[in-house]
Symmetry: C2
Subunit: 699 residues, 2 copies
């Protein structure tokens, strides 16, 4: 592939992007598509005029949305999308910053060294092969390799400084989110799993649990919460049996007896008077059998993944292992289409193809078609296959037994990330059959050399991948083709009225974070090897900045929030990419016989590892546990402002799976439970309705 | 090496053992050696007659000690040595049980299959090569390999069942130890690290810390504890400056001002009114900066490793990484002597040696000497080198920043374990230079095959290793040569009076556990490959049973207790050995071309992994954290019995590094602090005396 091939590919992709974005700017102005492109606005501000756009304006492409996305402040994003959205945008900003630095260093310093690396007659620039711009063009034993080494040092240092400041600011943001948010029921609630069944609860264990929770501080446990235990004992436990089939009119006594057969009931929510009491109950090992009375802080009410609460805690570890194995198997079986795609980029395969299927011969001979097939088609096929991955991983994560939606998404995010980096990066780099790849990775010693040989030669593929898959996926993201078609289908064929809240989606972190991180990974590993990729990558990230801001402001709703809990994934992934870049550089300098440069890389690797360990010690605990200090301050504030009663009334009604049942319980327990008015999740739970209501019990 | 060589070696070792044990039985009857062989008894029962042993009896070997060690009950061991000692003896009992089962299976079923594995003329039994008894003698494609497969299944299953029951009973014992022990100051105390200095404490952070701790429950925090903060504010903090140079007569005000320069003071003990309050304070993340106000449950007063408390918490992670790297480097550099030892067992090296050093030729020609050199000398050299390892690892663990002696010992135990298994097992199996070994381990795919080739051929070495190193180390353990010589030196040359408490040693878990686990490892891996090792191993474990019981009853004192916290190490190590055995079997069946047997091993490996994961979920949390349930019950009992005040008086005086200072503080703070009468650690802290007293402060 030469420079003009690359420019053709870039041209095609720029044209496609411009067309799609223009199409978007027209489609979004149609009032009928408002529930696709302005879902969030419709949900949060239900009464909204479409404005007085004239008929002519409606069909002319405009750039107003770009200006709006650009001008939005971080505060706006925070108000609209929460900490998760801001943290996601920080990832984009981090990428832009680090690759601007990398591009300046590599294009102005490394690229000339690569280009003039050999004593050769250079062709005209447009017919120059792309290989000339890679480190592969630097001759062995060259004195100029210290430039690459220095560039890698500069890139690593700036990446670490940026990563540190991002981690710090997101930690601060997370803490501010915990402190600043209105009283959150999840702060006061503990989810207990592995609860022993009612038969035992009523006699000995109830006493024990009562004492256990009481001893935290009797004042903290919310005595005013509904309770009903047969026999007249008045413990602060609430054990109504919320079985779907017994909701109608049986009394709580009847229902309790009918369920006494079961020995272990899966889970229960316990409410506390203060945040600190809940935190303590959640973090202490309660029982001497660690599989019983397992406590953790409850997720936000809308974040609870109800159907998984019915999984007995004893199964969870087995499920985790099973899904892990399943994901790994899936990861390796996926190699088959990827191997095929890889074959297409190699010319000899194309020749074979045209020999076997003679009528293709004429078509493939044409210069343009040939360029499309080698430069564009493989990425498209790969991209189409990759679309099936996130739903699969989401399914695995649901089977794993995660009890909250954000946890499920985070788990899926990690799986998709591993999957993408393995199947897009490593498989393409090592380009071969499953067996050959396993052979390469079974000998760790040769891995740097193998990678060092492969990465510069595969840089062309990655450049086209950024152009096609990267840019196209962003256009696809803003176009929202699937909701658009669904909307069209419902409106003009089914002719049903669509509620905006029913088709509102939450931000798909599990697909977008791995995508961005993959490009960060490609960017780092290719930076000093093949710097020509960096401008295209920068365009990708600028586009991503505008498009994701637009989507957060207009499309995705915020139903629950994890408070930036996915940031450690981003941080670790970036560090991994940096380390891999350094290892590959080590291999390259080895191949180029530059022991001095190799020697300088080893301290860089050690320093990066140390930096990562420091960040792990300094920041990551805050993402796993809430610090007591700020919760105590919040509790005290509440007390000073006299908001306690109000908060407790709120908590009572927060954790109900279904408004009908919440109402039913409020009648049965003879307590003035306020009816749950919150809207429910848009996906599967709502579809199942009452049916999905597994036997579930509150203490 | 043939059978008669092995018998010669066994004969030599039995003779040495008998001689040493007889010598021991004589030495222990000499009144002058009482402080070597009855240290524990002398410390706990200071007035003790030596009995009326006649002069004749004193110089005749006897077996009385064996009977006493055998008859001691588990309750006695528990009373004398605590849970740690019982758990250690359980390791020996577990080994005996599992290897009795393995010996029965392997000697009666596997050994005949190995012996008649090839169609060959067998020689007389005593001149038969030992190789004939290993799996190497079974011909390829043999139909009898399912016997080995079945034997491995039986051994794995019985090992897992035994491991499960041991883990369960030790967990129970640990819980009973926590519940049953007299009120322990460490249950009420939290060690806070990364405390901000006095300047800040006095203004804002003191308030915050006060609120933080108060909010647990104001009743729980021990208000009656000494406090002194300038300015008249009466917080429940105690900030006397315990600098060695300012102890004499300055007032607390003066001392405080002089130390206001420092910004972070390393650590502080905080006392609570109940165990549960301390537990909560220890397990919750206190500050939003996870490097500050780090809390953990305090170790027992005698367990505190005072000199490490002065290490700022910020350094700890860096120290851990540094010592890890140092240990790994040490592990690999140690290969040099081991490689030399390995060379000696190979005959051609001996021939070379005798050619270079001609006068050795005559000696080496002699049959007996030759046997000694090949069968005995290598193990002795290896053993001598290995003696230097535990002190080195102990040093590393001290540098790591562990704040308690038990933690330091556990950390050293893990390091020594890795070290021994790598340097004794793997290096001998893979027998070669450093580079060759790294090559083997850099290709993971071939590792099972490599190991499968090497282990059966190295079985001879391991058999002699068990005979020489194993048996001799036990004799050495009971003889206590080093204290014996020291005692002799002090008594007859220095002529000083020796206090028994000053030379009292705690049980050296960090050397004895890795030793036993190494033999467990060798036993498992050799069991179905070379079953002839098992009888010798059983003798070793029987001997260990008697000797360690004797030592626990008579020699080692119990200064502190970890409550069996090292058991997870034992469990994990046993599981690792089982898994490695299975992987080697996989390789062997692969070499022998028995795909069916190989196929059956894979589910066994998976099941073993699942079993381990289950145990990790079910038991290990109890070894890391104390369950709230039992602590709460204990608190309630104390309240019912009215022991609270008494306990609090005890705690006040428990955590003082030095009796003089404890006295000083009690005067300065005008509180009736009881003088600390407990005796102090026998090792380095005591030697440093006041000098080692680093700046240290109590809140």
């Amino acid at each position: 592939m030469d420079v003009s091939d690359l420019l053709t590919s870039a041209g095609i992709n720029i044209a496609i992007c411009v067309v799609l974005l223009s199409l978007y700017s027209i489609l979004r102005k149609q009032p009928g598509n408002a529930c696709v492109y302005f879902t969030r606005r419709l949900v949060s501000e239900p009464v909204r005029g479409t404005g007085d756009i004239s008929c002519f304006e409606r069909f002319v492409p405009s750039t107003g949305w770009i200006a709006k996305a650009w001008q939005a402040t971080d505060e706006e994003i925070l108000a609209v999308g929460g900490v998760d959205a801001v943290a996601f945008m920080r990832l984009v900003v981090f990428s832009i910053r680090v690759f601007i630095i990398a591009a300046v260093i590599c294009l102005f310093i490394v690229l000339p060294v690569n280009y003039y690396g050999q004593d050769m007659q250079h062709k005209e620039i447009h017919s120059e092969s792309l290989e000339v711009f890679t480190i592969g063009n630097v001759k062995e034993d060259s004195k100029w390799l210290w430039v690459h080494c220095l560039a890698l040092y500069l890139i690593s240092c700036s990446a670490c400084v940026l990563l540190y400041s991002e981690y710090k600011s997101i930690t601060k943001m997370r803490l501010a989110h915990i402190t600043g948010s209105p009283p959150n029921p999840s702060h006061f609630t503990v989810l207990v799993r592995g609860v022993l069944g009612p038969r035992i609860i009523h006699t000995k264990d109830a006493e024990r649990m009562y004492r256990m929770l009481k001893s935290i501080d009797p004042r903290f446990l919310d005595r005013s919460l509904p309770y009903c235990i047969p026999g007249g004992a008045a413990h602060p436990f609430m054990v109504p049996n919320l079985r779907a089939d017994s909701v109608s009119s049986t009394t709580s006594m009847d229902r309790l007896q009918s369920s006494q057969r079961r020995k272990e009931c899966p889970a229960a929510f316990v409410f506390f008077r203060t945040r600190y009491a809940a935190l303590v109950a959640a973090q202490v090992l309660q029982s001497s059998n660690p599989m019983l009375w397992v406590t953790e802080l409850a997720p936000e009410p809308h974040d609870v993944y109800w159907s998984n609460l019915s999984i007995p805690y004893k199964q969870v570890w087995l499920r985790k292992i099973t899904t892990l194995i399943a994901s790994v198997v899936f990861m390796f079986l996926f190699l088959l289409p990827v191997t095929f795609v890889q074959g297409l980029t190699q010319l000899e395969h194309l020749d074979q193809l045209s020999r076997r299927v003679p009528f293709l011969k004429g078509i493939l001979k044409q210069e343009f078609i040939h360029r499309v097939v080698t430069g564009y088609l493989p990425s498209v096929i790969l991209m189409l296959f990759l679309y099936a991955v996130p739903p699969t991983m989401m399914l695995f994560s649901a089977m794993e037994g995660n009890i909250s939606r954000s946890q499920r998404k985070r788990s899926a995010c990690i799986k998709v990330l591993y999957f993408t980096i393995w199947n897009v990066f490593f498989v393409n780099v090592l380009s071969g059959s499953i067996i050959r790849q396993l052979t390469v990775f079974s000998s760790f010693k040769d891995a740097p050399t193998q990678l060092a040989r492969a990465v510069p030669t595969q840089a062309t593929f990655f450049t086209t991948y950024v152009l096609s898959s990267g840019w196209a996926s962003l256009s696809c993201e803003i176009m929202q083709p699937f909701p658009l078609i669904c909307n069209f289908f419902r409106k003009f064929i089914l002719r049903t009225k669509v509620e905006p809240s029913s088709c509102a989606l939450t931000f798909p972190h599990h697909t977008e974070i791995p995508r961005l991180l993959l490009f960060v990974h490609i960017g780092f590993t290719c930076s000093i090897m093949a710097p020509l990729i960096l401008p295209f990558l920068l365009v990708f990230f600028f586009l991503a900045f505008l498009i994701y801001r637009n989507q957060i402001l207009n499309v995705y709703v915020r139903k629950y929030e994890s408070g930036g809990e996915f940031w450690p994934i981003v941080h670790n992934s970036a560090i991994f990419s940096l380390l891999l870049t350094q290892v590959i550089a080590l291999g390259v300098f080895g191949i180029k016989r530059s022991p001095v440069a190799s020697g300088f890389i080893i301290p860089l690797i050690l320093l990066t590892l140390l930096f990562n360990e420091y960040c792990r010690q300094r920041f990551s605990p805050v993402f796993k546990r809430r610090p007591a200090q700020i919760l105590i301050e919040m509790d005290q504030q509440d007390e000073q402002l006299g908001r306690k009663e109000e908060i407790h009334n709120q908590i009572r009604s927060a954790y109900f799976q279904n408004p009908i049942i919440s109402h039913q319980v409020s009648i049965n327990s003879n307590l003035p439970l306020s009816r749950n008015t919150s809207h429910h999740q848009g996906d599967e739970d709502n579809l199942h309705g009452l049916k999905s209501l597994k036997p579930f019990r509150y203490i």
